[in-house]
């Protein structure tokens, strides 16, 4: 499969695939199980787990963090691009199209998440999806005829058993300063990029309100200057609470691992995210 063009979450395309191929993916150190199909060969699953949870330090290229503290992986982009990118600052590592992070393949010997599994995930219709093209002959919309309620329930059951889950997975999303919470179904997204676009749309009204005192015009698109103002005025970072109750930065782990361990999301102001990703914040703040 051709490597999809990388985009930061607002759609500005990446520069070169050379950069991509030399990237390593920073992994979470928590041994959460990877999402593989229950019927998958156990040995593959185990080996995937080991690889995915292997502690990788810092950023691939230049800005390497040998001391083990993880950095905001917005590397490789120019500063301008970075600035454009971040209302929700996002680790670039995860902005690589589908769940199958292509560079994982290229980083010697890492077994891919099997495609059929991913496709099966896409195919199992949640109550919100209705036209998913079948990847294999057996996978057809609405067959076998099992009600969404049952599918979703069994999905949550199997999630708790660490198996691959079909159905939907709603988590609460809070944003600092917003008057109410929202909920998103993580299953309806396949990538971090999709998630962040959706969240951005959901919480747009709040960022607008936040900035209205600066006299900014009602936004109808994302202009560069607008974003830079927002960025300087108030940075937001997307974080999540995982199964262990820890607050983590979104974007470090493979998508599947993320949705299996994510319990809730929180969009925090940059200043509060300092404890999570100090270098990134400093880096952002230093742009102007």
């Amino acid at each position: 499969m051709s490597t999809p063009l990388e985009h930061d979450y607002i759609g500005l395309s990446e520069t070169s695939s050379v950069e991509r191929s030399s990237e390593k993916i920073p992994s979470s150190s928590s041994p959460s199980s990877s999402s593989t199909h229950p019927n998958e060969d156990k040995t593959t699953r185990t080996s995937l787990n080991l690889k995915e949870t292997e502690l990788r330090l810092g950023l691939p290229d230049a800005i390497d963090g040998p001391n083990g503290k993880w950095v905001f992986p917005m590397h490789g982009k120019s500063d301008v691009e970075l600035a454009k990118g971040a209302i929700l600052a996002f680790p670039r590592a995860v902005l690589e199209g589908k769940n199958n992070l292509p560079s994982m393949r290229e980083v010697g010997g890492l077994p891919q998440s099997p495609n059929p599994v991913q496709d099966k995930n896409i195919l199992v219709p949640s109550s919100n999806e209705h036209s998913n093209p079948p990847a294999s002959k057996a996978q057809v919309v609405g067959w076998p005829p099992i009600r969404s309620f049952r599918k979703n329930t069994m999905a949550s059951n199997s999630e708790k058993n660490g198996e691959d889950a079909a159905g939907c997975h709603y988590v609460k999303v809070s944003m600092d300063g917003a008057p109410y919470l929202r909920k998103v179904d993580l299953k309806t997204y396949k990538t971090y990029m999709e998630l962040s676009s959706a969240l951005e749309k959901m919480f747009t009204c709040f960022t607008l309100g936040h900035c209205s005192s600066n006299g900014l015009a009602v936004r109808d698109g994302l202009s560069e200057s607008r974003l830079m103002d927002l960025l300087h005025g108030s940075e937001y970072v997307l974080t999540y609470e995982d199964k262990d109750g820890d607050w983590m930065l979104v974007g470090d782990v493979p998508w599947e691992m993320f949705i299996n361990s994510c319990k809730r999301l929180r969009i925090v102001k940059g200043s509060e995210a300092i404890g999570l990703a100090p270098r990134a914040m400093e880096k952002c703040k230093n742009q102007s």
């Binding site: 099966k120 199992v124 109550s127 209705h130 005829p145 099992i146 969404s148």
Partner: protein, 581 residues
């Protein structure tokens, strides 16, 4: 000279006639009976909310106290009906708010219910008692809070299998302290981890008439005992989480609580079960008539043990972990069994993960003389097994078989399963509901048309060879009300040849078949009492040649004319409306 009873006497007599069919018959006797009947009809059932308009119902039946409405087609359960299709209850509530101030009961199935609708219900009906939302969606716990707060005489709140936007568990606290009237509360569909447990406990404690309580997963095992002790009069109970580390005191507390419920006959819930806690149920098992373990991932030995304690069981819902061996045990222990549903634990897996085959069903058909209703998911079937089942159980009224892989033949002979299903319809003369699966040719439809005289609902998938199949069904099944078909090579001919039949049915669904757009238009043109709707999410059907097949087709009879709440991907074939569009 006209001999007749005074109206009041007739009205009194009619008050004993509850069934809709009988009431409809009464209203046809003569004009005066029609008039008297319509003024005293208190319950209305509308099987398709688009078959009639709220105003028409209100005009004919001005004193209704109880209404039941169904919205989306059945295949919506399997995601075949796109979101936004319709089935909105708000227009109904809005009209009834003015016309039926004394409305007491609303039961909805597969409808879109918004918080606005719920708030309107809460505001408009002073004596509101029963709200059942079966497989509905579109509302949140805020709407529920409005119902809880305002409905002073609420007896039933049943949200079975609905999709609720779970904003907060605190809606339960909106039930005022003065509310003591609850008889039935089903919140099993709520997904949130926060249920205001103390509010729930207090509510349960102050409702002495509570008979049916179904909790959601948020309620943990240790809390179940507390709830049961406050409601020992329960007849139907849905547990929450039935899993926890085994602790002797928790176990004995639970067992004690269950044993104090002398009326308990029906159990469900069992999300996540720790088998070690199942013996806590043993004291009530002898009385159990209904057991829903269809979410419980417990293995056959534990299931067998449990089921063998339940000799009075009439209804069992279970996952295929029960396996053939478990069903054999069921067949020998539960001679009162009337309904069996076996669901797949791993429906999307390529290989079977459990040893459940046609043998289990054959065993139950042999051992359970009262068996009437079957829903069975399995991976293999044979004509021989189906014939045996049919011969064993001619009293079957509902038979739904789902062989997981489409077009699977008889595993012994590799032939189609026509003969097997043929035997089912031939022997089971009162069969009213049938779902087919496996490899099937036009022959099976010939059998169905010939023998399925009482068949009211038929579900077909990946079956048949030609229009002849559909023709057999439409021309032969005299009692047919609902027909739903997907992925079958049925085209225009059978449909157009049997157009008149469609007016005698509630609805016909056809998706991924071979019905052309031209035929749909023709049907819409010729049959004004039918609403012919084409669903296509990719592009308008008339952007392609008329001979192109439509993606999805939903035809239903209606006296209300074409509907006007169609989303952009639904096109009516009603000529007048279509041209205006």
């Amino acid at each position: 000279m006209a001999y007749s009873f005074p109206d009041e006497v007739l009205e009194h007599v009619f008050s004993f006639i509850q069934s809709d069919k009988d009431r409809n018959a009464v209203s046809l006797v003569c004009k005066s009976w029609y008039e008297i009947e319509r003024w005293c009809r208190r319950k209305v059932f509308i099987g398709n909310c688009y078959a009639v308009s709220p105003r028409m119902v209100i005009r004919r039946f001005p004193e209704v106290r109880s209404i039941k409405l169904k919205g989306k087609p059945h295949f919506a359960d399997f995601n075949l009906v796109p979101d936004g299709w319709g089935g909105y209850v708000l227009p109904w509530i809005a009209e009834m708010a003015g016309a039926y101030p004394w409305l007491e009961e609303i039961r909805l199935k597969r409808m879109v219910v918004t918080d606005e609708s719920l708030e309107l219900i809460a505001k408009s009906f002073k004596n509101f008692k029963v709200l059942v939302l079966f497989s509905c969606e579109g509302f949140s716990t805020d709407g529920l809070a409005a119902i809880a707060a305002s409905c002073k005489n609420l007896r039933e709140l049943d949200l079975r299998e609905s999709e609720v936007d779970d904003l907060s568990g605190h809606w339960l606290a909106h039930f005022p302290e003065t509310c003591t009237s609850l008889v039935s509360l089903n919140i099993s569909c709520l997904r949130s981890d926060e249920v205001s447990f103390s509010a729930l406990e207090r509510l349960v404690g102050r409702c002495p008439n509570l008979r049916s309580l179904r909790l959601n997963r948020a309620v943990t095992l240790d809390k179940i005992a507390n709830i049961l002790r406050r409601a020992p009069q329960l007849v139907d109970f849905g547990t929450g989480y039935y899993a926890a580390e085994l602790q002797p005191d928790v176990f004995s507390n639970l067992a004690g609580a269950f044993s104090s419920c002398k009326e308990l006959k029906s159990l469900s819930g069992f999300w996540d079960v720790v088998p070690a806690y199942l013996p806590a149920l043993y004291s009530i098992c002898p009385r159990l008539t209904s057991l829903n373990l269809s979410y419980a991932t417990i293995q056959s030995p534990d299931l067998i043990k449990l089921v063998s304690h339940c000799p009075r069981l009439q209804r069992l819902l279970v996952l295929d972990y029960v396996e053939d061996s478990g069903l054999e045990e069921l067949a020998s222990s539960c001679k009162d069994l009337q309904e069996l549903r076996v669901f797949p634990s791993d429906p999307f897996g390529a290989e079977p993960n459990v040893s459940l085959t046609e043998q289990g069903l054959v065993a139950v058909s042999l051992g359970c003389p009262k068996l009437r209703s079957v829903l069975y998911f399995c991976r293999r079937m044979s004509n021989a097994a189906l014939v045996t089942i049919a011969q064993n159980r001619p009293n079957l009224t509902r038979f739904r078989l789902c062989i997981i892989e489409p077009k699977t033949p008889d595993y012994l002979t590799l032939e189609p399963l026509d003969v097997g299903f043929g035997a089912i319809v031939e022997h089971c003369k009162d069969l009213s509901r049938l779902s087919l699966s496996g490899l099937l040719t036009d022959h099976v439809f010939e059998y169905i048309g010939t023998y399925g005289k009482k068949l009211e609902m038929l579900s077909v998938a990946f079956a048949g060879d030609s229009d002849l199949g559909l023709h057999h069904v439409l021309s032969g099944c005299e009692s047919l009300r609902k027909l739903e078909i997907r992925d079958c090579p049925f085209g225009d001919k059978a449909l157009l040849a049997n157009a008149a039949k469609l007016e005698t049915m509630r609805s016909l669904w056809m998706s991924s078949c071979a019905v052309s757009f031209g035929a749909c238009k023709l049907l819409g043109q010729k049959m004004p009492k039918l609403n012919v709707e084409v669903i296509d999410e990719t592009e308008p059907p008339d952007s392609r040649p008329e001979s192109c097949p439509v993606d999805k087709l939903y035809i239903y009879r209606s006296v209300a004319g074409p509907r006007f709440d169609m989303p952009p991907f639904v096109w009516t074939m009603d000529e007048a409306v279509r041209i205006l569009h």
